[in-house]
């Protein structure tokens, strides 16, 4: 008789809420795992972690986590995070956001939270489309991709979230994909320990929508293979020309810097007395 073991990370999950709502083959389940592995490895106090999700597939991750959580409004995750973090600085605030949530409707909050170096961790799950709503074009969709609202191919140049965050003032920035669990967990751990605005972008497969419309396959493995083929590490990328890097996803750690964190716009100092 085989002795069944429970996944040690189940203790962080609202087990009564399972099964989750993610499609078969979706990357969100993997990312939930990577995050909890990082929390467990670091032995973080779960009572002091607040997880935040806006609206979208990724935003549902906090719904399954047994933490204090905010959920259900599109794009406002970093505004929520600022209220909590400035009022209760002892709490660790983690945001799970999709590319639409963070970079489209929440784009302005994203830029300003990074600029201020708000001490929170953003886990950006980039699946290249608005998935929950049925596969519309997103600010991350690659040129010429067919989506539900670009039937003749996307004509807009996509955002590079890591570049955007770096320019705006984020102090820890990394990008991996769901096929790189070890590196991803390592970066999430670094982000969680980082004092300042940290962004970990994870490229993730959406077989149901992006896969079917843009890649003409609903097979999760094929979608992930497509991401892997386009992925290249930062070290390798440094040797390639701009043309060779066209449509490539550069993976790695882009920034890790110490800077003063945001505690409020107007701070009273002892010397002002």
């Amino acid at each position: 008789m085989v002795q069944l073991k429970t996944n040690p990370l189940r203790k962080y999950i609202r087990n009564e809420k399972l099964p989750h709502f993610f499609c078969p083959g979706c990357g969100c389940g993997q990312i939930l795992n990577y995050f909890l592995k990082a929390v467990d490895d670091l032995k973080l106090d779960i009572e002091k972690i607040v997880t935040i999700g806006g609206v979208g597939c990724t935003a549902r991750i906090p719904v399954y986590l047994n933490t204090d959580s905010l959920h259900g409004v599109h794009g406002r995750t970093l505004a929520w995070a600022t209220g909590i973090k400035t009022y209760q600085p002892d709490l660790k605030v983690v945001i799970f956001a999709g590319d639409g949530d963070l970079l489209s409707i929440g784009g302005n909050h994203f830029l300003h939270a990074a600029r201020r170096n708000l001490d929170v961790t953003v886990i950006l799950v980039n699946n290249f489309n608005f998935a929950m709503t049925g596969g519309q074009v997103a600010p991350t969709t690659l040129l010429d991709s067919v989506t539900m609202t670009t039937p003749f191919g996307s004509v807009e140049k996509p955002f590079d979230a890591c570049e955007l965050a770096t320019c705006a003032g984020a102090t820890y920035v990394a990008r991996w994909n769901t096929a790189k669990p070890v590196q991803t967990v390592k970066s999430i751990k670094k982000a969680l320990q980082h004092k300042g605005f940290s962004l970990v972008e994870i490229l993730s497969q959406c077989p149901t929508n992006f896969g079917r419309y843009a890649l003409k396959t609903g097979n999760p493995q094929k979608v992930l293979e497509w991401i892997e083929e386009k992925s290249i590490t930062k070290i390798k990328a440094e040797k390639l020309s701009e043309n060779e890097l066209k449509n490539k996803f550069i993976l790695g750690e882009f920034k890790d810097k110490k800077q003063p964190i945001f505690q409020g716009t107007s701070l009273f100092k002892e010397e002002d007395r």
Binding site: R14, E16, V63, D68, H71, Y87, Q88, P89, S266, F268
Partner: protein, 384 residues
């Protein structure tokens, strides 16, 4: 918020002041325990943010100037869920953006205060044109509590009252200010600290294992457990069960929103405040709110000098509407006048309540400037 810093500021600036309306709002908020403020520049509400940026850090609170009004309202709501007494202030155009967050605050029952200094579209002239938007501007089912000051003194008092009502009912409360009041200087008397009510929401006495974040008695808000204390609460806009979890349930949805709206509408008589003037012998009455109370009272004085028996009902609580009192008055007078500074909006609600009993006349002025007493009195004279 650095709780270890020693702070020099006074929360309550007791004494008599000659004070700007917008500053009176700040003093009222601080006196009632406000310790988080977020705002975005907009005229004519700027002085609220400006004074807050100085006063709040001095008393150990957090001040943030955000990137837009959406930031303001959402950070206020989340700070409230972390235990803060939180407020934001804006003017009409900014109030539009905040509707979204007001909807979320009412769904997760986060107490917070929003000051809306009403202005004309794109211009800083006087108006009361947001009176309906303050009731149901956001999507979804909820009930608003809206207070309408008419003096700088009342800006102080009703802002403090707004915090206490927000905490008691775990609901957003809106202070309906106006250009007219916000930018006017007047005498403001701030009482001693001990005389000012500083109410805080009921905290749960249950352990995290037994606590259900949205379990409450009928028409009451649930007991509160702040973020970060091991209660692991999910605050979602979506329909949520008593344990906070997302799980569509048609009967549960109906019950949740019956309670969220019922805690305001069923407690209407407890929440609603009003003042009456010259009502003892009145055979007709002016019903009005906000700055329009001032010329209306002067107009009544003119009418009384001419022997016309007119009284005044000043609505402190604009929403929920003081249905019981208005109905009672309508039964005892021959005519109701509604004075307001817009195209005539609130009058529709007054008509709904009064028309079975007496006729209603709308006296409006929508020109970016408050009524004069002569304008109100001449409108009355046309009828009486």
């Amino acid at each position: 918020m650095d709780k270890n810093l020693k702070h020099k500021g006074n929360r309550v600036n007791s004494g008599v002041h000659f004070m700007l309306g917008n500053y009176a709002v700040v003093e009222g908020a601080l006196a009632a325990g406000c310790d988080y403020f977020a705002g975005y520049p907009i005229t004519p509400a700027n002085e609220i943010s400006e004074l807050m940026s100085k006063r709040l850090p001095e008393v150990g609170g957090v001040f943030v100037q955000g990137e837009d009004e959406l930031f303001s309202i959402y950070s206020v709501v989340s700070a409230s869920l972390a235990g803060a007494k939180a407020m934001t202030a804006t003017a009409s155009a900014g109030f539009n953006y905040m509707q979204e967050g007001i909807g979320y605050a009412s769904a997760v029952e986060a107490p917070c205060v929003i000051v809306n200094v009403q202005r004309c579209r794109g211009e800083n002239f006087a108006t009361q044109s947001d009176v309906m938007q303050m009731r149901w501007g956001a999507s979804g089912d909820y009930e608003s509590i809206v207070l309408a000051p008419s003096t700088a003194q009342e800006l102080f008092e009703y802002t403090a009252l707004a915090f206490n009502l927000a905490e008691e009912f775990r609901n957003p409360v809106i202070v309906m200010s106006e250009t007219t009041l916000a930018l006017m200087r007047e005498r403001v008397e701030i009482p001693e600290k001990e005389q000012i009510k500083n109410h805080r929401r009921a905290y749960t006495s249950l352990s995290p294992e037994k606590y259900l974040p949205f379990k409450a008695k009928d028409n009451r808000p649930p007991d509160f457990a702040p973020i970060g204390k091991g209660y692991h609460t999910l605050y979602t806009l979506n329909y949520h069960n008593e344990d906070g979890s997302i799980d569509w349930n048609d009967k549960g949805y109906k019950k949740l929103y019956q309670r969220i709206t019922g805690k305001i509408s069923e407690n209407r008589d407890k929440i609603c405040k009003a003042e009456t003037y010259f009502m003892e012998d009145a055979d007709s009455v002016i019903i009005t709110y906000g700055s329009e109370v001032r010329p209306a009272l002067d107009a009544i004085e003119m009418a009384r000098n001419d022997g016309k028996k007119i009284g005044l009902l000043k609505l402190i609580t604009v929403w929920p509407i003081h249905e019981t009192l208005i109905k009672e008055i309508a039964k005892n007078v021959s005519r109701v006048f509604v004075v307001e500074m817009n195209i005539g909006k609130y009058v529709n609600e007054i008509e709904r309540i009064c028309l079975p009993f007496c006729p209603v006349t709308s006296i409006t002025k929508n020109m970016g400037i408050i009524h004069t007493k002569d304008e109100i009195y001449s409108a009355i004279k046309e009828i009486l």
